[in-house]
């Protein structure tokens, strides 16, 4: 009987691991279509291109007609496990908040060696050879996120957060200024370069923000991913240097 129970435990963890390697095609972004359908008459199943065009035109009109700052508009989209909400108007650094990489805590943070961390998480941990081994490795929320901390680099303190690639969950919510996001290429795949500080909030698996208040990031952020791991690099680093660091992550 004990043998059978042992088999069950092993099977359960093997099944979970296999689940993370299943081939699932990328999901289409349905937010705009869902919204169109909810705004339109309920009987209509799918609006034709005329309707789509009309809605696009309406969005454009709103964008043009609305003065900056009065009725603020944000874009919501997701990229590599991060939900981004864009707002017009700059995010200013609050004087009261000590803004430094590694600022506000993630849930269940545990400091450990890189080797220990590699056993604790289900995805490969990438280390940028441009920076060398991190001074500190922090595993959070039961192995959901790994943070590599570099307190001293030529660019000042840097932080790299890593989480499972192609995630079906949103890990962070960022509130960024509309003009600050640029698509870039990292190792031949898509990445996002976010200039300037923005608010960053950690989301638990059920989608709710953690109790800790959102923290303000420092410097700039690069988001990118490989098939198995999604990464964000944060610190007072320029775009070219950030891309070089990202390219060296193995």
């Amino acid at each position: 009987m004990a043998e059978r129970a042992g088999w069950r435990d092993a099977a359960e963890s093997e099944l979970r691991a296999a689940g993370r390697h299943l081939a699932v095609p990328p999901a289409r972004d349905v937010a705009a279509t869902v919204r169109q359908r909810l705004e339109g008459p309920p009987a209509r199943r799918r609006p034709g291109w005329r309707a789509a065009l009309a809605v696009a035109a309406a969005f454009l009109a709103v964008l043009i007609a609305t003065p900056q700052g009065r009725a603020a508009i944000v874009h919501v989209f997701r990229f590599a496990g991060v939900e981004l909400r864009q707002e017009p108007g700059p995010v200013r650094t609050p004087a009261s908040r000590a803004a430094q990489p590694g600022g506000a805590a993630l849930p269940g943070e545990r400091r450990m060696s890189l080797a220990q961390a590699r056993h604790r998480v289900s995805f490969p941990i990438l280390v940028p050879s441009a920076l060398g081994p991190p001074a500190e490795v922090v595993v959070s929320d039961g192995g959901r996120v790994v943070s590599l901390i570099y307190p001293r680099t030529p660019y000042g303190p840097l932080r790299m957060d890593e989480f499972a690639g192609q995630p079906d969950q949103i890990y962070f919510e960022k509130i960024v200024h509309a003009g600050d996001v640029t698509p870039v290429t990292v190792n031949g795949t898509k990445g996002l370069w976010i200039k300037g500080p923005h608010e960053l909030m950690y989301l638990t698996p059920d989608g709710s923000p953690t109790v800790a208040p959102p923290r303000l990031t420092t410097g700039n952020t690069l988001l990118w991913g490989t098939p198995r791991v999604a990464l964000r690099l944060e610190g007072d680093v320029g775009q070219a240097a950030a891309l070089a660091i990202a390219d060296s992550a193995r």
Binding site: L22, A27, R35, R37, I73, I170, T210
Partner: protein
Amino acid sequence: MAFVLALTRVQREPHGGGRCITDGQVRRAIDDTEAVARARGGDLDAYAVLVTRYTLRAHRAAFLLGAGEEADDVVQEAFVKAFRHLSGFRTDEAFGPWLLRIVVNETRNLTRSRRRRAALALRVGNMDPGAAAGDIPVDEVLAAERRARLVAAVNALPDKERRVLVCRYFLELSEAETARVLAWPLGSVKSRTSRALNRLRGLLVPEQETRVPSG
């Protein structure tokens, strides 16, 4: 890649949890409870936050439970239906499992109307499309083979047993969440999980090895 998915308004509310004060202006992230409450009042901006947050999870569930290429359509339909049925959502429950139940129903409607086997065969993805074969360590190759065998065995299970394993281990839902999502009693989730795991054992472990050595 289109970045603009939806337009929502900035929240400027006087007080509440999880907020960040910047320069006297209060900005808040919307949690699920608040987004649902506002969406119920007809706020499509708040609903766009939920759609963005749950699209990937809903898509993965639809795909793994048999929607195949039509998973995106199922997700779209589920979000539209969920919005129209928000009045039936109990504020003390989690939004995720409630939405996934609608996704499961939509997937079933689709597979029933197509009169085909509910689930398409699941398969393990390529390890690392960028890596040359020689770069992959042997233990990773062996682990990949083991996973492929396991997934093939899951594909061979009867429909209900496969569904419960997909929910419990591939979608990583708890027993209670699985019960909610599949609309089964909790006891059925437990018994079908046990039965499915036993059947997997039968499929994977050769007969002579399952015998307990005596003496």
